[in-house]
């Protein structure tokens, strides 16, 4: 071998090893010795297998032999990840180029070795960032073929990574937009700048099962060597949509509430001012009896106004009220109710009964349930039918494995059929006798039941009204204590607690 060749070989910045047909290292440059961690001179004469991983050593001499049988310049192990083994046993990724050379009448193989450690680390950094992104991430090439996806994409669209690899990106686009999509890709490729996709339009993705969901997509071009890729970051905005809608509804409701509130507060104020004017006139006219009557009216309207304001405050609290759930004391509720409303029940001559046949404890926000039930029962008493021979209100409870039920049944006036759609709305009054009511009671009941995760419905006719409350039980009732004893309050006269 010429000295010149040796000098070039030795000083080349690329690690190079010259191997003979017997797999022995004939020549190795400084760079190769450094790369594999050997001292100068240590490697010459060693079999080349010392530099490759243990696992592939046995088969390697055969590979060397077959290369010598057909020696052409090529890369080693195309498509496979190759590793070199250092003197200390550690492995590192490499790329190996093979070139046959003729020297002194013999064929030798010149291998150039490139250390890929740095490149692999970069690739891994990229793919772990890709994988760790909270959004769905996917990368397509300039033909629109999917080359990389992360796990979020799999979850979002219901495909596995393998099902998506090498597929056209249109797989994930709803059918009706597929035809136009390649055009969009072309546009982006022709002027690749980071931007959001479909500004001003609603975008949808299509899952494997054909269902669609709203998405937000950011696009980012990525140039590697000569190829342009596009990275898309995809966010499933189903929940955001839903909360937008919920927020909108809430805003509408608040607007309605503010409007109605100001209206309902203004009316009695006008009346009070008007009556005060009347009193003034009455005094001038020396109509003292009339004046006295009118001051009483002012008092009555003022106290209506006060209870309306209190009701509105309660309603505001309904939304804010936070309370730990606890076992609801049904009998305790009835006892308290009778203390609070006993005189109403007596006045209307209504029989109030309760029949509790649920099993186990009902774990619920007790103050909420109390307010809801008080409202329903007090309403039932208030709108009892004076034309019926006997008036009653019955509160029943029962439960099965999945739900807890409370029914409030009366034989009162009933809700007019044309009002059935409005029952749980704001400011609805159904009877002319209810002038003093603010029309907020059932609205508040519904809000409470909503907050407790339950549902409320009713049936009503001339024979009376029944409200049905149903609460799903999240867990099976652990201890069934058997049906609670049937209790009856009898008429209020007998059962009303001492006052």
């Amino acid at each position: 071998m010429s000295t010149l060749f040796k000098q070039i070989f030795e000083n080349s910045p690329v690690a190079m090893i010259l191997v003979g047909p017997d797999s022995r290292i004939e020549l190795v440059n400084r760079d190769a010795e450094n790369l594999f961690g050997y001292d100068p001179g240590e490697l010459a004469g060693q079999p080349i297998e010392v530099l490759i991983p243990q696992s592939v050593r046995p088969n390697h001499p055969k590979l060397v032999q077959s290369y010598f049988d057909a020696p052409i310049p090529r890369q080693m192990g195309r498509g496979r990840d190759l590793f070199g083994t250092k003197k200390d046993g550690s492995q590192f990724p490499v790329e190996v180029g093979l070139n046959p050379i003729q020297a002194d009448g013999r064929t030798l193989v010149l291998s150039s070795i490139i250390d890929l450690t740095q490149r692999v680390a970069e690739r891994e950094r990229f793919s772990s960032a890709f994988e760790a992104a909270p959004n769905g991430m996917l990368m397509i090439n300039s033909q629109g073929t999917i080359v990389l996806t992360n796990q979020r994409i799999e979850q979002m669209f219901g495909y596995t990574k393998n099902e998506l690899a090498d597929q056209p990106i249109e797989t994930l686009v709803p059918e009706e937009f597929r035809a136009h999509h390649p055009g969009f890709i072309k546009n982006f490729i022709s002027d690749p700048k980071p931007r959001a996709m479909g500004i001003g339009r609603e975008l949808f993705g299509q899952r494997k099962d054909g269902s669609k969901f709203p998405v937000e997509i950011g696009l980012q071009p990525m140039k590697t060597n000569d190829e342009l890729f596009v990275i898309s970051s995809i966010v499933d905005i189903t929940h955001r949509r839903q909360s937008d809608i919920a927020l909108q509804e809430k805003t509408e409701e608040l607007k309605e509430f503010a409007y109605r509130t100001s209206h309902d507060l203004k009316t009695p104020l006008i009346t009070i001012a008007g009556l005060a004017e009347c009193v003034r006139e009455d005094i001038i006219d020396a109509q003292y009896d009339e004046a006295q009557e009118n001051t009483q009216k002012i008092n009555a309207v003022a106290s209506q106004l006060r209870s309306l304001v209190e009701m509105m405050l309660t309603l505001t609290k309904t939304d804010l009220q936070s309370e730990e759930a606890s076992a609801f004391d049904f009998q305790g509720f009835v006892d308290n109710f009778l203390i609070k409303y006993g005189h109403h029940i007596e006045e209307k001559n209504v029989r109030f009964e309760s029949a509790f046949s649920h099993s186990g404890d009902f774990i619920v926000q007790a103050a909420r349930l109390t307010q809801a039930l008080e409202n329903l029962i007090a309403n039932a008493v208030k709108y009892s039918d004076p034309d019926k021979a006997e008036r009653f209100v019955v509160m029943r409870s029962f439960s099965d494995l999945s739900d807890f039920f409370i029914h409030i049944q009366d034989n009162g006036l009933g809700i007019p059929e044309d009002q059935h759609d409005n029952v749980f709305g704001m400011f609805n009054r159904f009877h002319e006798t209810s002038v003093q009511g603010a029309g907020l009671g059932l609205y508040m009941v519904r809000r409470h039941v909503d907050k407790m995760g339950g549902a409320i419905s009713f049936s009503s006719g001339p024979e009376g009204t029944t409200f049905y409350l149903r609460f799903p039980l999240n867990r099976p009732i652990a201890t069934a204590s058997g049906p609670a004893a049937q209790r009856s309050q009898g008429t209020v006269d007998e059962a009303s607690p001492p006052r």
Binding site: Y259, H263, K266, T267, I270, T271, A273, G274, L275, E277, C278, K297, A300, V301, P416, F427, R429, F430, H431, E432, S434, V435
Partner: protein, 143 residues
């Protein structure tokens, strides 16, 4: 003083307001009869009764109604009245309807733009203001 006096009807579920408006109306010296109803249904019932008893002699010429009332609200009342007028010519005696409400919602007001029976939309206000409005409407009607 204008000699002619007018029969009027007030429909409102607020008894105190009815008292007020009656006083105001009486003091204008422009009304002969005042009929009161506590909601739309009550008003319809009373109007039908007047027709049965003595034709159109008792019918009010001007009708003032609130909107937000239980049982039958002002909207339904006005619709019912217009409907009834198309089959009962004697009800033409009711010349105009004035909405007298505390609702200043333009949406409510807009619902009466399409028909001619409702001539005014008044928002409830202080008694002295109401008296002025009432006088104006009654005088306009009698002239």
């Amino acid at each position: 003083m204008v000699a002619k006096v007018v029969k009027v009807m007030f429909v409102d579920d607020d008894e105190h307001f009815l008292y007020l408006v009656r006083r105001v109306a009486n003091r204008t010296n422009l009304v002969s009869d005042i009929v009161e109803a506590i909601n739309g249904q009550d008003a319809i019932d009373q109007i039908e009764k007047m027709l049965d008893e003595d034709g159109d002699a008792q019918l009010p010429e001007i009708l003032f109604t609130d909107l937000n009332m239980p049982v039958m609200d002002g909207f339904a009342f006005i619709d019912t009245l217009i409907e009834r007028q198309s089959t009962e010519p004697r009800l033409q005696a009711i010349k105009k309807v004035v909405v007298l409400t505390s609702s200043s919602d333009p949406k409510d007001q807009a619902r009466f733009e399409q028909q001619s029976l409702v001539t005014e939309y008044l928002v409830k206000q202080a008694a002295s203001e109401m008296r002025k409005e009432l006088e104006r409407i009654l005088i306009e009607h009698t002239v």
